[in-house]
C-alpha cells in the first residue's frame, strides 16, 4: 500500500477491482464503511461475481476475468476525452512531457522490438530522448507529437466504451457509470483509492493490471494524497516483510538485487545500479545503492567483507536466469534437477498451480523437509486419500522430514502490515510438544553445516564459515538480536569532518536511520529500509501511542513504518508545485517557506524546495511514469491480452495468445485448453472466502463449521442449461485435472455477453484439501494452469477454462 488502512477513512471514492476487501480483509474494510458513513464516500465494485464487497457497494459492475486492462484503458480514454485530468499534477509530477525516442511504436498488440521466438522484446527504443546535457528532453507544453502524453492518448483511443463492452462483457451503461464516478476524482478536492489484491496479481499480465490503475490514479492526481493511493492488500501477515527482507531468488534485503553472471565483478554490478538523475536537482535515491549494499555485506560477513575483496562480492551467488521462482523450481524438480527441497510454513501442494505436476515433481525429490505448525498436504503428498489424493505411496521414494514449529502466539518479533507498519509482538503461550521456533531450526541447520565444513572442507566454505553469527546462544538467536542486525549498527568510529574532536558515528551504536549508512565498511545494516526501527532509543516497532492529531489516520507514534516512519509514500505529491496542499481540508504536509511541516514524515529532504525536487525520489526523473520505459517486459503502456486459456480470441490482436512475453514451459503449453475451446467452454476463476484463510483454517473447528465443505458457484442460467441443482453434486474439470464439488446456484454470478456470445463463469473457492477438520475436498489448483505473470511469475489462478456436469458425487 502507498497509504495505510487507517488512511482509507479520508477517501471520497473506493474502487475495489482486482480484489474483494470485505471478504479477504474485513477489519481493514472497516475504513471503507467508515469513509462511507462519515464522509459520504462511495464504493464501486467491479468483479466477475457479486461479492461480499459488492453487497455493501453503491455501484456494482460485472466484468469478465482477465480483461481489467481493457476496462481501465477505457477509463483512461474516457478521462482524457472528457478532460477529466488533474492537469497541474500530471504536468508537474508525471513524465507526460517527456519526449520518447524515435523508433518506438505500437501496432496490433505489439511494441517495437518483439522477438516471437524468444517471447521477449529488445527494449532499446522504449526510452526518453536524452539531450546533450545528459538529461531527458521534455516539452512542458505537451505539444510534441512524441511526448508521453500524446503517445498515451493515441494508445488508449482504441478503448472506446463499445470496445470495452465487447471485450469485458461489462454493459456499456455500467462501464460509463463507473468511468464517470472515477473521473469525478480528477478534482483537486476529490480523491479515489484503489484497493486490489490477488484479483489483479494472479494473471499472466498481473503487473500491468496494477500499472494501468496506477497510471489512472496519476492522471487523477491521487497518488501521495490522503485517501488516495494504490493499495495492494497483501495476503499473509508478513508477506510484506518476507519480501522486504528479500527472501526471493534474486533479491537482497531492501529491494537490492543479486548480481547476474553477466555482471562478473563488483564494478560491473554497480554500473547498472545507482542511477544518476535524469532531470536537474532530483534525489534519485538509488544513488545511495552502494552504501546500502556495502552495509548489507558487512552485516552478513563482518570482517570477512573488506574493500580489498570488494566487500565479499563473490560470496553472493550469481544468477544464470532472471529468477528461480516457484514455478521454475517445480519445473526443475519435475525434470529431476532438484534433489532436496525445504518448505518453511508453506503448503505448495495447495498453493501452486497444476497439482498433478506438483505431485510428480515432489515424488522426484530425495529429501523434502517441511517446517510448519500444522499438518499440510505437502508433508503428506505421498499419502493416498482416494480421489482426493490418489498417490501411489509405495512407489514414492522421497524421504520427508516434518518439523513442528511454534506459531504466532508462541514467538516474538515483528510483522509488516500492508501499510508498511512494522509491529512488534510478544509470545504468550508455551509451544506444544517439542515444537521449536523457526530461528532455532535455521540455526540448527547453519551450525551443523558450518561444523561439517570446518571438519571436512568442501565446496567454497567461506561464506558459511564467515557468516556473522554472534548471538548469545548461537542455537537460539533472539528476535531482539536479529532485529538489531536488520536496523544496522556502527562498526567503527566515524569522526566528524567539521570537528575532529567529535564523532559522527560511534562504534557499537545502533544507526538512527539509513541516512547515515556508509560505503566504506564502517556501518553494517541487514536491511536499509528497516533502519530506524531499533535505534539507541529502543524498539520503535513496539511503540503503542495511538494518538492521531486532527484525526488524519497517520498514527506516527504507533509502531514504525518503513521507510523512515513515513505513512504515505510520495506524500510530497499531496501539494502543488509551490508546496501548498491540493486540498486544504486534507493537508498531509506543507511547505512553510523554509521547510516541510505536517502530519507525515516528508519523503523529500525537509528543506528541499518544492519547485526543485520531485516527489518520486526513487526514480531518476523525480516524477512518476505514465510511460514505463523498459521497466515492464510487455511494454511501456498496458495492452489488453487475453488469459492463456480464454473463451474468446483477443479482439484487438487475434493472433496473440495470452501475454506475448510470459514464460511458458513446453509441457505446460500442451496442457492449456484452446482459445474458445468447445471441450472447456466455461470461464473459471478461483478465490478466497471470508470464513477461511488459505489452507490453514481448515485445521480449525470453528472456521470449518462456518464453511464446512467445498463448493463451486454458478449462475442460475448455467445451472438450467446443464440441469444442475443447487447443493447438488457436480464434476468440474480442466485440461489438467478434475474435481467433485457441491454446486451453489446463485444470482450473484451472471453470464456475460462478450462480443455477442454468452460467457458463463464458474467460481471456485480454494480452501479444501485432504487434511484438517473440514470435510475432505479438492483445492482449486487441481484445475489451474502452470503459467505466471511475465514480470514476477505470479500464477494465473484467476482466469482459466473448465467444463462442468452434474454427477452423483465422488466415490471415496
Amino acid at each position: 500500500m502507498t497509504n495505510s488502512w487507517t488512511d482509507i477513512r479520508n477517501t471520497d471514492l473506493v474502487v475495489i477491482m482486482g480484489g474483494n476487501a470485505a471478504e479477504a480483509h474485513p477489519c481493514g474494510f472497516k475504513w471503507v464503511t467508515e469513509a462511507k458513513a462519515s464522509r459520504g464516500a462511495k464504493l464501486v465494485v467491479v468483479d466477475p461475481r457479486f461479492t461480499r464487497s459488492a453487497a455493501v457497494a453503491d455501484y456494482y459492475a460485472p466484468i469478465r476475468q482477465g480483461t481489467d486492462i481493457a476496462f481501465l484503458n477505457g477509463v483512461i480514454n474516457y478521462c482524457i476525452a472528457n478532460d477529466k485530468v488533474q492537469w497541474d499534477y500530471v504536468k508537474a509530477f508525471t513524465n507526460a512531457s517527456y519526449i520518447v525516442k524515435e523508433g518506438f511504436a505500437y501496432q496490433d498488440g505489439l511494441f517495437t522490438g518483439y522477438d516471437a521466438e524468444k517471447r521477449d522484446y529488445n527494449r532499446s527504443t522504449w526510452d526518453y530522448d536524452i539531450g546533450p546535457d545528459g538529461y531527458a528532453v521534455v516539452d512542458d507544453t505537451l505539444q510534441h507529437p512524441r511526448c508521453v502524453w500524446n503517445l498515451l492518448k493515441a494508445h488508449v483511443a482504441q478503448y472506446t466504451p463499445e470496445l470495452v463492452e465487447r471485450i469485458t462483457g461489462t454493459p456499456k451503461d455500467k462501464f460509463l457509470k463507473v468511468a464517470s464516478m472515477i473521473a469525478e476524482c480528477s478534482s483537486k478536492t476529490k480523491t479515489m483509492t484503489s484497493m486490489y489484491a490477488l484479483g489483479w496479481t494472479q494473471h499472466s499480465k498481473g503487473s500491468q493490471n496494477i500499472r494501468t490503475m496506477a497510471m489512472l490514479q496519476l492522471i487523477l492526481g491521487n497518488i501521495g494524497v490522503r485517501g488516495g493511493g494504490m493499495n495492494a492488500l497483501r495476503g499473509h501477515s508478513n508477506i510484506q516483510g518476507l519480501t522486504d527482507v528479500g527472501l526471493m531468488s534474486n533479491m537482497i534485503p531492501g529491494y537490492l538485487t543479486l548480481p547476474t553472471e553477466r555482471e562478473p565483478d563488483f564494478n560491473a554490478y554497480m554500473s547498472t545500479r545507482g542511477f544518476k538523475p535524469l532531470r536537474p536537482n532530483q534525489m534519485s535515491y538509488w544513488q545511495n545503492y552502494r552504501k546500502f549494499f556495502v552495509s548489507f555485506q558487512k552485516s552478513m560477513w563482518g570482517d570477512a567483507a573488506t574493500a580489498e575483496n570488494n566487500w565479499a562480492f563473490d560470496y553472493l551467488p550469481k544468477l544464470d536466469v532472471p529468477a528461480y521462482d516457484i514455478l521454475r523450481a517445480f519445473e526443475l524438480m519435475k525434470q529431476g534437477k532438484i534433489t532436496n527441497y525445504i518448505c518453511q510454513g508453506f503448503n505448495p501442494m495447495q498453493a501452486f498451480p497444476n497439482r498433478g505436476k506438483l505431485t510428480e515433481a515432489l515424488s522426484k525429490l530425495k529429501l523434502l523437509v517441511v517446517m510448519d505448525p500444522l499438518e499440510t498436504e505437502t508433508a503428506r503428498f505421498w499419502e493416498n486419500h482416494g480421489v482426493y489424493n490418489p498417490a501411489d505411496t509405495a512407489k514414492i521414494q522421497t524421504e520427508v522430514i516434518q518439523l513442528p514449529t511454534t506459531c504466532f502466539a508462541e514467538d516474538e518479533g515483528a510483522l509488516v502490515n500492508s501499510g508498511r507498519w512494522i509491529q512488534w509482538h510478544w509470545p504468550a503461550g508455551s509451544p506444544p510438544g517439542e515444537a521449536r521456533t523457526d530461528a532455532a531450526i535455521m540455526a540448527g541447520i547453519h551450525l551443523r553445516m558450518k561444523e561439517l565444513y570446518r571438519k571436512e572442507g568442501g565446496a567454497f566454505p567461506d561464506p558459511i564459515l564467515n557468516l556473522t553469527w554472534t548471538y548469545k546462544d548461537p542455537h537460539e538467536p533472539t528476535a531482539v538480536e536479529l532485529t538489531k542486525e536488520l536496523n544496522g549498527s556502527v562498526l567503527r568510529d566515524v569522526p566528524d569532518p567539521n570537528d575532529p574532536t567529535k564523532k559522527l558515528l560511534e562504534a557499537g551504536k545502533q544507526v538512527a536511520g539509513f541516512g547515515v549508512l556508509r560505503d566504506d565498511g564502517s556501518t553494517a545494516c541487514g536491511n536499509w529500509i528497516y533502519s530506524g526501527s531499533y535505534t539507541e532509543a529502543g524498539n520503535m516497532m513496539a511503540r503503542r501511542d495511538n494518538s492521531d492529531p486532527d484525526a488524519t489516520g497517520a498514527y506516527l507514534k504507533w509502531s514504525f513504518a518503513w521507510p523512515a516512519n513515513r505513512r504515505i509514500l510520495y506524500n510530497r505529491a499531496s501539494c502543488d508545485i509551490d508546496g501548498k496542499p491540493w486540498d486544504p481540508t486534507r493537508k498531509l504536509i506543507e511547505w512553510d517557506g523554509s521547510k516541510w511541516t505536517g502530519y507525515d514524515v516528508p519523503d523529500i529532504a525537509v528543506t528541499a524546495k518544492p519547485q526543485d525536487v520531485g516527489p518520486f525520489i526513487m526514480n531518476p526523473e523525480g516524477v512518476s511514469r505514465l510511460f514505463a520505459r523498459g521497466m515492464m517486459r510487455e511494454g511501456p503502456f498496458p495492452v489488453h491480452y487475453e488469459p492463456f486459456e480464454s473463451p474468446v480470441a483477443n479482439l484487438i490482436a487475434p493472433k496473440i495468445r495470452g501475454n506475448p512475453v510470459a514464460r511458458v514451459f513446453k509441457d505446460d503449453f500442451a496442457q492449456f485448453a484452446d482459445t474458445a475451446s468447445k471441450e472447456f467452454p466455461y470461464a473459471a476463476t478461483s478465490y478466497r472466502l471470508t470464513e477461511h484463510f488459505h489452507y490453514w483454517t481448515k485445521n480449525n473447528h470453528v472456521n470449518s463449521v462456518l464453511q464446512p465443505e467445498f463448493f463451486v458457484e454458478i449462475s442460475e442460467e448455467l445451472a438450467k442449461e446443464k440441469k444442475i441443482e443447487n447443493a447438488g453434486w457436480v464434476r468440474v474439470w480442466s485440461k489438467r485435472g478434475s474435481v467433485f464439488a457441491k454446486a451453489y446456484v446463485t444470482k450473484r454470478i451472471r453470464p456475460l455477453m462478450v462480443d455477442g456470445k454468452p460467457v458463463h463463469i464458474v467460481g471456485i473457492p480454494i480452501h479444501w484439501g485432504f487434511v484438517g477438520a473440514a470435510k475432505k475436498g479438492f483445492p482449486a489448483n487441481v484445475l489451474t494452469p502452470f503459467v505466471g505473470d511475465a514480470n514476477i511469475e505470479t500464477p494465473e489462478f484467476k482466469a482459466f477454462l473448465v467444463n462442468i456436469e452434474p454427477t452423483t458425487g465422488p466415490v471415496a
Partner: protein, 199 residues
C-alpha cells in the same frame, strides 16, 4: 504507554452523534452485587494478557492473548482466549471470522508436536529426535552442495551458486525469522529460494 491515555485518544476523536462512549453506559451506579444465577463468572479474571498481532492477513489486527500462567515469568502458559485489542488504531478491537477463532488454530488437533520422518516408500510418519532430524538434513544438504556447487560457469566467470536444493520461505514468520533464514540460505549460495509473495 499509558493505556488509559491511549483510550482517551480514541474517545476524543470519536465520531459525532454519540456523546462519550459505551464505557460505563451499563454502569448503573456503583452497586457491588453478586452475579445472578444466569450470569456466568467473567472468564478472563486472573488471566495474563499479552499483546500480539493476528497471524492471518496483512491488516495485522492487534490482538490480546489471555493465558493461565505467565510465560514472561518463566511459567508454563496455556492460552484460554484471544480477542481484539481495542487500543489498536486499525482494528479497534474488532476481528474477522478467522481472527475471532484464532484460539482454534493455536489449539488445532492437527498442530504438529514432534519431528517426524516418512521413509522412502513408507505409508506413515515415524517419530525422530530433533538431533537426528537436523543431522540428517545437514548431511544431505552438504553432500548435495559439495556434489553440485557451481564455482565458475562455462565462461569462467565466478558464479558460486547452488541450484539443486531449494528453499521455500514462509509468509507469516517474523522479520527476524526471515533474516535468520536469509542468512542461512544465502550463505550457502542457494538460488532456488522464494516465498509466498506470489500466491
Amino acid at each position: 504507554m499509558n493505556m488509559e491515555l491511549s483510550r482517551r485518544q480514541f474517545l476524543k476523536t470519536a465520531g459525532a452523534g454519540v456523546a462519550g462512549t459505551t464505557l460505563g453506559a451499563m454502569g448503573f451506579g456503583a452497586i457491588e452485587e453478586a452475579y445472578a444465577s444466569t450470569i456466568k463468572p467473567f472468564r478472563l479474571v486472573n488471566t495474563t494478557e499479552v499483546r500480539n498481532t493476528c497471524t492471518y492477513c496483512s491488516v495485522a489486527c492487534g490482538i490480546l492473548i489471555f493465558t493461565k500462567g505467565n510465560l514472561a515469568k518463566g511459567e508454563k502458559a496455556d492460552i484460554t482466549h484471544i480477542e481484539g485489542d481495542s487500543d489498536h488504531p486499525t482494528n479497534r478491537g474488532t476481528l474477522c471470522p478467522k481472527g475471532a477463532a484464532l484460539l482454534d488454530i493455536v489449539k488445532s488437533e492437527t498442530r504438529l508436536k514432534y519431528p517426524m520422518i516418512r521413509r522412502a516408500g513408507s505409508d506413515r510418519f515415524e517419530r525422530i529426535s530433533w538431533d537426528e532430524a537436523l543431522d540428517k538434513i545437514a548431511r544431505t544438504l552438504k553432500d548435495d552442495r559439495d556434489a553440485n556447487f557451481i564455482a565458475r560457469n562455462k565462461d569462467g566467470v565466478t558464479v558460486n551458486r547452488w541450484v539443486t536444493t531449494g528453499f521455500l520461505a514462509a509468509s507469516a514468520t517474523t522479520n527476524e525469522t526471515a533474516w535468520c533464514t536469509y542468512k542461512t540460505v544465502r550463505s550457502l549460495g542457494m538460488l532456488v529460494f522464494d516465498n509466498q509473495a506470489r500466491v
